[in-house]
């Protein structure tokens, strides 16, 4: 199984930049609408079996030549990613994991027909099949999603009517499903954004960017359910008590995965913070 899969589209933030492009995820922008197709993985109908292997050798030769000419990190990264994707083509178990048609319709409906809901379902399938890290990105075909400035549709209106109900449906289905399969105990579910929204509603009935305080949600993976850590001030503008920094959250996530970011040499350069005592 691919170790890292992104569902719903990538944030345009450079992927896993410090580690190099070869560590970027396999990305499936829109899981599961009717007949699922995976254009990045499905070989054309006339390319199968031995022919696929011939194509792989051809690509090897071609890219090898280019690499001699270029020698760039970009090409090496692309080469590794391409090889990985190509190798997966030949693995039925992998293709099955990405195929939502193998789920009962009732369960697919339970997650919701939204891109987010079906992404959550595919995330469960991937985790069940052995993928270690799945990222679900909220995606909109139109509109602004959770970027509720109110400058396309009225932000608060959009949040109440559209965003929250779909998030609630998809996430609750995911947690229920993981739990009923005995997967929740060993699967850490993290819901987080890169910043919050202004405590005041703007002139367009929306809320703008606000990095000073916002909420995150953790479930499963050893997290004690029902725990509330920290609080905002009464206006929802700044931390009221027990502020948690981004580095603290990262340290907590690693600790829940069995890694101590204070002592692990692989993590120390990147993770600056302390694991949250109430959680670990």
């Amino acid at each position: 199984m691919p170790p890292f899969v992104n569902l719903g589209g990538m944030l345009d933030l450079g992927g896993v930049s410090p580690l190099g492009g070869a560590f970027n995820p396999i990305s499936v922008p829109e899981p599961g609408k009717g007949e699922v197709s995976l254009p990045d993985f499905n070989p054309p109908a006339n390319v199968a079996g031995a022919r696929l292997e011939r194509r792989r050798r051809f690509v090897d030769d071609f890219d090898g030549l280019r690499e001699q000419v270029d020698g760039s990190e970009t090409l090496r990264s692309r080469d590794a990613t391409y090889q990985r994707a190509l190798a997966m083509l030949a693995t039925p178990a992998v293709r099955d994991a990405f195929d939502l048609n193998k789920e009962p319709r009732k369960l697919r409906e339970r997650y919701g027909a939204s891109i987010f809901g079906q992404s959550c379902l595919m995330a469960r399938r991937l985790v069940e099949a052995g993928t270690r890290f799945v990222q679900v990105q909220w995606t909109e075909r139109g509109g602004a999603g959770w970027d509720t400035h109110g400058n396309v549709l009225s932000g608060i209106f959009e949040m109440e009517q559209y965003l929250c109900p779909r998030f609630d449906q998809g996430l609750s289905a995911l947690l229920d499903d993981l739990s009923s399969r005995g997967l929740l105990e060993k699967t850490l579910v993290v819901c987080i954004a890169e910043f919050g929204r202004t405590p005041r509603i703007n002139a367009r009935a929306g809320r703008d960017h606000w990095p000073h305080v916002f909420s995150g949600l953790l479930a499963g993976g050893g997290v004690p359910g029902g725990t509330v850590v920290g609080a905002s001030d009464p206006q929802g503008a700044y931390p009221g008590h027990n502020p948690i920094e981004a580095g603290d959250l990262a340290a907590t996530l690693y600790r829940l995965m069995g890694l101590n970011s204070l002592t692990d040499d692989r993590l120390r350069p990147f993770v600056k913070g302390n694991a949250i005592a109430e959680i670990v």
Partner: protein, 313 residues
């Protein structure tokens, strides 16, 4: 073709909605007829259409991205031009316009609009006299929004987050009914508010039926995804809608003049977009085919009017 449906869609611009019109025969045939032209150089976003009974006028909400608060407009489908609305728009963000069936009254929600009581408030515009008309005793310091108006302009149904009891906090949205003749709210027995969210009302022009979306748990959906419900104001009770709702989110109902047809938005696995439009026939208790209306580009916020009265006689 006897039915006209207006709706929003991202199908043309991808990240911005436009308004489209679609005709249907009330049985199984239908075809797109036109799109409302937008102000392309300024990249205006148009959404939430609302048709007059004769299908000539279409009220809508608009917004220029990344700039002003937005407002409501009125499109004349015959003259193919925007209708001037003197003294209507202000610096407040206006949206969610609804038309009375006769096309005289336009009710809309304004955010922090001068003359309001705070948050979202409702305002009524007389399209014949080109002036705002007071709505005594309606607005509060809480939010009033998503208005629907009966065909004769007398009744206004809307959504509020007013606490059921004083001192309440975070009250789920609920529906209220306002009588313009008496300038007072009218009880709707059998629609008791609970922990559910009732939203997006739509009036039949005869003032009898009120369709709305709610996350009330029901047989179609034990998990609280939105469903469409119908309230009979004469019988003062909820009316079943067999075959309409799905396990997904069903929302944004628009009911025809006499209540036979309900167009609505739904998220279903076997439809082409994330959100698509469906048409329900109450007389037949079934969904009607709507060929060529839905695309992967999403269709939502339908408004409906019956152009051939024989269909509802």
């Amino acid at each position: 073709m006897s039915l006209l449906i207006a709706f929003s869609s991202y199908r043309r611009r991808g990240d911005a909605a436009d308004i489209y019109f679609y005709r249907h025969d009330g049985k199984s045939a239908g075809e797109p007829v036109e799109a409302m032209p937008t102000d392309s150089p300024r990249n205006r976003v148009d959404y939430r259409p609302y048709l007059s009974a004769d299908g000539r006028y279409c009220a809508f909400s608009w917004q220029y991205r990344e700039s002003d608060p937005g407002g409501v407009g009125l499109w004349d489908r015959v003259e193919k031009k925007l209708v001037t609305l003197p003294d209507k728009n202000t610096t407040g963000a206006d949206a969610q316009a609804a038309l009375s069936g006769d096309g005289r009254w336009m009710v809309f929600a304004g955010w922090q609009r001068p003359g309001g009581k705070g948050g979202h408030d409702l305002f009524l515009y007389d399209l014949k006299k080109n002036e705002l008309v007071p709505l005594p005793n309606l607005n509060t310091e809480h939010d009033e929004q998503m208005p629907a108006i009966s065909g004769d302009g007398r009744w206004i149904a809307y959504v509020t987050n007013q606490p059921v009891e004083s001192g309440g906090f975070n009250t789920p949205s609920r529906l209220l009914l306002y009588d313009r003749e008496k300038s007072a709210l009218v009880p709707m027995p059998g629609l008791s508010p609970g922990k559910c969210r009732d939203t997006e009302p739509s009036f039949s022009a005869d003032g009898r039926y009120l369709a709305f979306a709610s996350d009330r748990p029901g047989p179609d959906d034990p998990h609280g995804a939105g469903d469409i419900h119908l309230y009979d104001l004469h019988e003062k009770k909820l009316v079943p809608l067999p075959g309409l709702n799905s396990a997904g989110h069903d929302c944004q109902p628009a009911i025809s003049q006499m209540g036979r047809f309900i167009a609505f938005t739904s998220e279903r696995l076997d439809a082409p977009g994330q959100r698509d439009i469906f048409l329900y026939d109450r007389r037949e208790s079934k969904l009607l085919p709507t060929p060529h209306i839905n695309t992967p580009g999403e269709e939502f916020e339908p408004s409906i009017t019956v152009l051939d009265p024989a269909l509802e006689s």
